[in-house]
Point group: C2
Chain length 280, copies 2
């Protein structure tokens, strides 16, 4: 993954040095690469070659990284630590961090549009990524998260809306992108989308749980931030025990969906189990 | 243009209300719509139908609007006034302004990918737009502008690099997008790109001149900001008279290029004259 991510930044091709450094700083390093992994596994699940899904996988990580940089900004979550390192704006300043995020997002669409895939597939991938990352997807979830912050009466449906958009949309897209890049049938891609929705929600509940229970060493970022900011979370609304039960349930359903792809769904199954285990 | 811009935001299709409002606030209103106009005129120049270039034109205005919102942020240019109204973050807060910009940028690629054009043309348009807006284009120019701010020894080549990237790249893209959407030949699209480069540089020099000479009523934003922030500008490096001479020269060359498209280049010619006249 790392060489592909590095190539995506195309050093020496017209990007000013500091901007390039700021982009690279957040893109490379200790990410879990969950979205690229899901994208590649989904491509595998429909019988595609891993190489086919590489460009969408890189595009996903570029989009995810931009969202982290902007999320960490002082005017947003104001975080100092991310993936065990100082956040982008702590190193390069706020203005450069905004631009680095903007540049990563823009570059994502270029990378996907330039994928080594038939034009129809490339175009579909651009649309899937844009829809999932945009105002009716990830950014929409972030906006609602922002609006409800500090509010005492966020109910479970609202929280679920925030989670399915803020995190779930891009994770669902990761699976559908892999399916589309691997030339899967429409029903397969839809099935992958359902798998992704479950995994995406489970993943976010795990994040909520870890924010409560883990220390900064384990997280690579500050913990207990959600509670401090008065954010609605699953543990806060349902308690830890019930939150963990939800993760198990979603994970089990995801494993079952992965099973429908037979041997080819093996990686998807492994990824689902990996995500559930993080919450224990 | 206004209905097409409004449609691009697709009210009621999953975008949270405040985010939608913030996007709409900056997108609609008193913009000059220079980039869409150049895109449509370029489509005309190669014999295309105006409708063909509508989606790329909307995409350009979405990208341009996002860049204004992020540019105006307190950590960037810290502007209170834009197009005669309070800037986005003054109305919706910094965090929502960051998200509104992110959402507009993302949506731009979706709009272009969904254009009513053959798939190859749509894909080319996505690539042209992403390249021009990204780290080797507009954002690259902004990053270098940021880095050289307050520096006493910015020379003309550096300033020209900043201008051709920060403003020129997207204006050049506007012309090439119109040419591509109108199914122009490769040589025609290249010619349109050259026209766009000239117009783009002229446009930015005019902006520099107006920042020195015009009042806020005329600009719809605060004036004398460049000097206050120690920004390198054409008037500062070359003086007002020489800056105006450059605009005339670039404009004349652009009019000449427009002339090569015969009667179909009429709108491009008019736009070139319009841009020169702003500086007088």
């Amino acid at each position: 993954m790392a060489p592909a991510l590095d190539r995506a930044l195309r050093e020496g091709t017209g990007t000013p040095r500091t901007l390039h450094e700021a982009m690279r700083y957040s893109l490379t390093g200790e990410g879990k690469r969950v979205r690229p992994a899901l994208c590649l596994a989904s491509c595998e699940a429909v019988g595609g070659r891993v190489e086919d899904a590489l460009a969408p996988a890189v595009g996903l990580e570029l989009v995810h990284t931009y969202s982290l940089i902007h999320d960490d900004l002082p005017c947003m979550d104001d975080d100092d630590l991310r993936r065990g390192k100082p956040t982008n704006h702590r190193v390069y300043g706020e203005a450069m961090a905004v631009l680095a995020g903007d540049a990563l997002l823009t570059r994502a669409f270029e990378v996907v549009a330039e994928a080594d895939l038939p034009v129809e597939a490339r175009l579909d991938c651009v649309r899937i990524l844009a829809e999932a990352a945009g105002p009716a997807g990830m950014v929409g979830g972030q906006a609602l998260d922002l609006e409800t912050e500090g509010s005492e009466d966020v109910d479970l449906p609202t929280l679920q809306y925030i989670h399915t958009h803020k995190t779930g949309a891009l994770i669902g897209a990761a699976c559908r992108l892999g399916g589309r890049a691997g030339d899967g049938r429409a029903e397969e891609i839809a099935e992958l989308g359902r798998y992704g929705e479950k995994i995406g929600l489970a993943f976010q509940i795990v994040d909520d749980i870890l924010d409560e229970t883990a220390g900064p060493d384990q997280l690579g970022k500050e913990s207990h931030k959600d509670r401090a900011r008065g954010k609605a979370t699953y543990p806060r609304l349902l308690g830890l025990r019930e939150s963990r039960a939800r993760v198990e349930e979603l994970g089990k359903a995801a494993v079952e969906t992965a099973g429908r792809f037979g041997d080819r769904g093996m990686s998807l199954e492994v990824l689902a189990r990996f995500i559930i285990q993080r919450s224990r």
